[in-house]
């Protein structure tokens, strides 16, 4: 997971690596308040989870406080590299003498962490002809100061700069290890006229498989289970989570609320995203994104179906899963049909489509047939299922 720049900078700041003074802005109204702490000239940096902001013209410089609000307002109403800008990092604009590049990452071919250092950083670092210094190290012990000194000595730095860069390298390697990062990159790491190094831009990627080891990210940045919450959890989503938490069996309730009219119960090894996108592509409007998987209890599925059908505006539901070897079609059919009936509806009128190629298909087919719901298995693709569901909802 890629952290936003301001999140990465907070981590760097806590680790003792110098960063520019700055604060986060969600609306132009906040600019004035921040100007008390951070003085012009300033730089406004959109916080999006991809790089290349400068080249795309997304970074704005502000020479006096007066224009800060206006430029912030403009940026907060724009999109950058396909992302709607909803937050800006407002920082002091630093004058600097030189740009360096420093990163800690993995050399997957050598199965070893790697430090990359160059005296030529900045936005065109890939095209730089300057020497790039790389050194592999072991995570079994901290990257020692003498090794950092050895590395920095290649750049022929002297005095406080030599010590300062060595210190930053040690701190960055420790941070890389502590956060289970796959990349901790400072570009540029600038040398100011006062002979100090400051991390002007930072990029940290944390290993998705290690996110469970970092519950502190939830408190710091709202990152939970590898997902970032940018909006508040709705009561609808809370109730779905409660249903899923009823017992340990299967998944039925990992839900995100939307405003459409087609309730979705989708899943199967990442296929849920494919289904969701396909529904939207065929002109459908999902009321929710809700994963089901494994073998949730009939009660969980029933309660979840009832919840989705209780959402105002939901006209029908579609149950679409990828081919699974373990999810039992009959148990899923029981839960969904029971939920529809207990909501006071007729199954074949409320279920737009049921496509679950899984285990116990014969039993599932019998149940669905009794309630007049057509069963789809491997005979149609996820994409076709999504298209059919949308057409049925639209009465075509």
């Amino acid at each position: 997971m890629r952290l936003y720049e301001y999140e990465a900078k907070k981590i760097l700041g806590s680790a003792g690596i110098p960063i520019p003074k700055g604060d986060l802005v969600f609306s132009a109204d906040q600019v004035k308040e921040i100007l008390d702490r951070v003085k012009a000239p300033l730089v406004l940096k959109p916080q999006i989870p991809v790089g290349g902001r400068m080249k795309a013209g997304g970074i704005q410089f502000v020479d006096n406080s007066g224009e800060a609000g206006e430029k912030a307002k403009y940026l907060l109403n724009s999109s950058l590299r396909g992302y709607k800008i909803d937050r800006l990092l407002m920082e002091e604009k630093l004058e600097f003498e030189e740009e360096f590049y420093l990163a800690v990452t993995y050399d997957r071919s050598k199965k070893s962490p790697l430090i990359i250092l160059s005296s030529q950083g900045g936005i065109n670092v890939e095209e730089s002809s300057d020497e790039v210094i790389t050194v592999r190290f072991s995570l079994l012990s901290p990257f020692s100061k003498y090794k950092a000194h050895e590395l920095v000595s290649i750049l022929k730095l002297k005095g406080p700069l030599f010590l300062s860069l060595s210190d930053i390298i040690c701190r960055l390697t420790k941070l890389f290890y502590d956060y289970d990062a796959t990349l901790a990159e400072i570009n540029p790491l600038v040398r100011t006229a006062k002979e100090a190094f400051i991390a002007l831009d930072v990029h940290i990627d944390i290993d998705d498989d290690a996110l469970y080891r970092h519950p502190e990210l939830k408190d710091k940045f709202g990152i939970e289970n590898g997902e970032r919450r940018t909006s508040k959890v709705t009561p609808f989503e809370k109730e779905a989570a409660r249903i899923d938490g009823q017992d340990y069996r299967g998944v039925a309730g990992r839900l995100v609320e939307f405003e459409g009219d087609l309730g979705l119960l989708i899943g199967g090894g990442g296929a849920s995203l494919t289904v969701f996108d396909a529904v939207a592509r065929y002109g459908g409007s999902p009321a929710d994104y809700c994963e089901i998987g494994g073998n949730p209890s009939v009660k969980k599925l029933k309660d979840l179906t009832k919840l989705i059908l209780s959402k105002p505006g939901v006209k029908k539901i579609a149950v679409i899963m990828n081919i699974t070897s373990n999810s039992r079609v009959d148990l899923i059919a029981r839960g969904i049909i029971k939920g529809v009936i207990e909501s006071g509806y007729i199954p074949h009128e409320k279920i737009a489509l049921f496509r679950v190629p899984g285990a116990w298909e014969k039993e599932g087919t019998k149940i669905l047939k009794k309630y007049g719901v057509k069963y789809y298995g491997r005979d149609i693709s996820i994409d076709q299922a999504a298209e059919k569901a949308v057409k049925i909802l639209q009465g075509n």
Binding site: I341, E363, K370
Partner: protein, 77 residues
């Protein structure tokens, strides 16, 4: 009460808790429960039945029957 599965326990054949009670321990979805020292069917859980047939296999007196309601009605049409 189950709308898909009906589990029946024949009181005349069941050996009861004192002698047996194996179905209570065996069922993975707790369809059998003990009420007033008697084995009863937990009707709320009937539709959770996974059709594993463990209860049928463990019952020494063949006192249990598991019926798929969706099948019975289908045949009866």
């Amino acid at each position: 009460m189950g709308i898909f599965i009906k589990v029946e326990l024949d009181d005349r054949k069941c050996k009861g808790l004192k002698e047996c009670g194996k179905c209570v321990d065996t069922c993975p979805v707790r369809i059998f429960l003990i009420e007033k020292e008697k084995i009863n069917i937990n009707s709320e859980n009937e539709d959770e039945c996974t059709l594993c047939n463990l209860c049928l296999e463990i019952c020494p007196s063949e006192a249990i029957a598991v019926r798929k309601l969706y099948e019975l009605e289908e045949k009866g049409r």
